[in-house]
Each structure stands twice: as C-alpha cells, then as structure tokens.
Amino acid sequence: MLISKKELLQETNISYGQLYRWKREGLIPEEWFIKQPTFTGQETFFPKKKILRRIKKIQELKNQYSLEELARILAPEVSERNFTEQDLRIIEEVDLALIPCFFKSFGKNNFTYVELLVLIALSIFRKRHNLSIDDVEMLSKGIKDAINELKQVDYICLLLKSNGEYFLMLYPENTGVMTDERLKKISEINLNEISSSIKLKYRKSFHLDIEEEENELLFIEGGEEVLT
C-alpha cells in the first residue's frame, strides 16, 4: 500500500527539507521514492508501512544520534560500516570454516553489510547442500564484482548448478528470473529476510535497529527458514 508525499508530510508533520535531507543521508532509501503519474502531472509515493515506521524511528532517535549514526543504525546497507573478522565470528550464521576462504576469494578481511549478507547466504547454501569449501570459494570469486554494485538488500540470491559446477545469481526481489534450462535451480535465499533477522538478532552487538514487526520475521535456523 502506498502513501503520497503530500499525505506523508501531513501525517508525520515533517517538512520537504527534512524528507530530502534524510534521503540524502541514506536514512530513507531512494527506492522508496516511487514516481507515478497523477492528474496534476507526476507525484511521488512511498511504501506506506515502511516509510511511516522509518520516519517514526528517525523522529524518536534524531535527538540522540547524528544523522550519520542514524543511517548506520537504520540502514546499515547504505552506511560505511565494515564487518571485521571479529564481527564475523560473532555472527553465528557465518560458517567459521569459510572465513579464511572468504578472505582469500574477496581479497580482503572486512566486509560491507551487503557483502555480509551474501557471506551468510553462502554459509547457508553450504549447510543445505553440503557444498565443499572449494565450491564456496569459486562462488565467492564469481560473485564478488557483482556485489560491489549492490547498494540495497532487496535481492534474491539464487544457487544454480550445471555439469557438477555451482553458480550464483543475484536478482531484484519482486522480479522473475528465467534461466537457461541447462542451469538447474538448486536453492534461493532472500537477502532482505537475512537482513531482517540479522538486524533483530544482533541489534545490540552491532547497534543495528529493526523496523519490521517481529512476527513477520523469518529466522534462519540450521539452514532452514522458519516463520516465527
């Protein structure tokens, strides 16, 4: 369900300046600004629930934190927060045996939030499908350049197989993907769902905040997705 910008400003009592300032700071993702034609020309709409929750949260926290800190808390995917080896060891969803392999294949030892989500997806794929460390290394090397382009988490990570070799594909949520029939779809993971569970589970460790209602969250336990 969408809300128009005019309605949003009235309902939340914020100004144009605040709205666009928060957009600049990455507190409100660019993807939430949806332009649609109206009888007066073109108007901007937002996903109602998400934007109202986000603005409420910003209004609650803006006196305690700077906008930069808020961006790190509310939208880690756009912040410059890096996750070190120590952080990876705290996150149970990251397969510890894969950490050296991630360092090697990505050529670095700290990762952005979006990269972290992909590392978790790879860890889950390994557990689900008994992938070898070599398989994960090949997948990491193959996907690392594509991840640089990701600035948001609304993506599906798809594991494919052909002739005994595994491949990864990342594609935007809410879009279908059609593949060559020689590529067998093995499994898929929604990065947004991993993000929601990570934000909730590690909100204290990493000062991440959550916006989704808890009963809507998907937890990933033992490689299985469980609706709580």
């Binding site: 005019k6 100004s15 144009y16 300046g17 666009y20 300032r21 600049r24 007066t40 020309g41 073109q42």
Partner: protein, 282 residues
C-alpha cells in the same frame, strides 16, 4: 637531513626530500617530500607530498598530498587524500578524498581542448568546476559550485549547491540550492530546504564561509529563463524561471516566471510580472 634534487632525465626517489624538480619521468616511493615539480610522467606510491605541480601524466597509489596543480591525466589507486587538488585532464580513482577538488583552471585565458572524463569515487568538502566535465563516477561533496557544465547520470546530492553556468541533467537534492537563471539551465527536479533561482548572485555569509579556490563576486545572469520542471522545498524564491510544478511551505514567484501549478503551505507571493496557471493552498 632533507636534501633537494634537480634532475634531467628519468629518476627514482626514495626517502625524505625538501624539493624535487624533475624534467623527465620520475618514480617516487616510500618518500616524504615537501615540494615536487615535474615535467614528465610521474609515479608516486606510499608517499606524502606537501606540494605537487606536474605537467604530464600522474599515477599515484595510496598517497597523501597537500596541494596538487596538475595538467595531464591522473590516476589514483587505493585511498588517496589531497587537501587542495586542481586538475586539468582525465582523472581516474578508486577513492580520492579532497578538501577542495577543482576541475579546470580558474583563468579564462587557459584553454583546454577536450572535455575531460572523471571516473571513480570523489569525496570531500568542496567541488568546483571551471571547465566542462564528463563525470562517470560519484561525487560526494558538502559544497558543489559549478561554473561550467557537468554531465552526470546520477542525482547530485550535497549540502550547498551553486550553479553559475548552463546545466542539463536530472536532479539536484541539496539543503540549499542557488541557480543563476540562464536559458542554458534545463533541470528535471530540484529538492531540498531552500531553492533560489535568481538573476544575480551576491555571496552571502554562508557562501563566504565555504572553503574554495574561486572568487565569485556579484555574478549576473544572461537574463534568460531557466527551466526547472519540478521544485520541492521548504522555502522557494524564483526569478526568470519556467516550471511545471512547484510545492513548498513559503513560496515567492518573482518576475518573469511561468509556472503551471504551485502548491504552498504557509505563504505565497506572486509578482505581477509572472504567469501562474494554478495556485493551491495545501
């Protein structure tokens, strides 16, 4: 003790120097140098340079430099930091952090033959553009001052945006935007806290406070009409502007404006020399 060197021909330097003047190609590694003047290609890595002037191509890797004045193509790899960087030529970087980054010489007497292309991520306090530039990367600056056209595919986002030249691209999102009205301005959307389109620019306190290289005193427009399709801001002041849709809290539509629809929240003033099709109080 630091030494100085004047060299003709190719050279390699490593260590601490006061001044290096080189006519030829040079390589500087693991060094700390106060001043470098080079006519020729220059490669610098893991070094700190106080003041660098070069004519030729520059390759820099993980360097910290006080001031650069360079004519030629430059490539910065790794994280490079420069306090004041003035470049004429193509620029490529992984991540270049500058307090002031300037494209093109300020002097009108210096002519450049082609439009340079800049690729990579450029970050810092103030970006000034004095010659036409094709930007294929990202600029993240607090203040952006354009005195020459810039082409880019992404929305420009900053705290303070000043436009003193023609410009044709999508959108600007800035806390404060000033546009010197000109018939060469064609923008899709301008958003933020304050948006001003005026025939004249007189630098105010805020502008004077910005650290910059250029001098921008009392600029006047060509009396043309700027075209900005959509403007959304808390405070809007327009002169010589053609617009489809304007919405704000306090809006002033000055002389020679042509506007299809205005939505305002608190106050509106419309000049009798302006044409406004529809006014709505929200």
């Amino acid at each position: 003790m630091r030494s100085s060197s004047i060299a003709f021909g190719d050279r390699h330097y490593e260590g601490n120097y006061n001044r290096l003047a080189i006519a030829g190609d040079a390589e500087i590694t693991n060094s700390d140098v106060k001043k470098v003047y080079c006519a020729g290609d220059l490669s610098i890595s893991k070094s700190t340079i106080g003041n660098l002037k070069f004519a030729g191509d520059l390759e820099a890797d993980s360097v910290t430099i006080g001031t650069i004045k360079g004519a030629g193509d430059a490539s910065f790899s790794g994280l490079c930091k420069v306090d004041n960087c003035v470049m004429v030529g193509d620029l490529e970087c992984d991540m270049l952090e500058c307090e002031i980054l300037q494209n093109g010489p300020r002097s009108e007497r210096v002519n450049t033959t082609s439009t340079p292309t800049w690729e990579g991520v450029f970050k810092g306090e103030t970006f000034e553009n004095f010659k036409e530039l094709a930007l294929e990367g990202e600029i993240e600056f607090k203040n952006i001052i354009l005195s020459a056209p810039l082409s880019t595919k992404t929305e420009i986002s900053c705290d303070n945006f000043y436009l003193f030249s023609g410009l044709t691209f999508g959108s600007i999102n800035a806390e404060h935007t000033f546009i010197l009205a000109s018939s060469n301005v064609h923008l899709d959307t301008v958003t933020g806290c304050t948006v001003e389109v005026k025939k004249e620019f007189k630098p105010g306190k805020e502008f004077k406070r910005i650290r910059k290289n250029g001098k921008y005193n009392n600029l006047c427009s060509d009396n043309g009409i700027a075209s900005v399709d959509n403007i959304e801001a808390d405070n809007i002041y327009l002169e010589n502007t053609k617009s489809k849709y304007i919405c704000g809290i306090n809006v002033v539509i000055g002389d020679l404006c042509i506007v299809d629809r205005v939505e305002y929240q608190d106050t509106i003033e419309i000049s009798h020399k302006a044409i406004v099709n529809e006014v709505v109080k929200t």
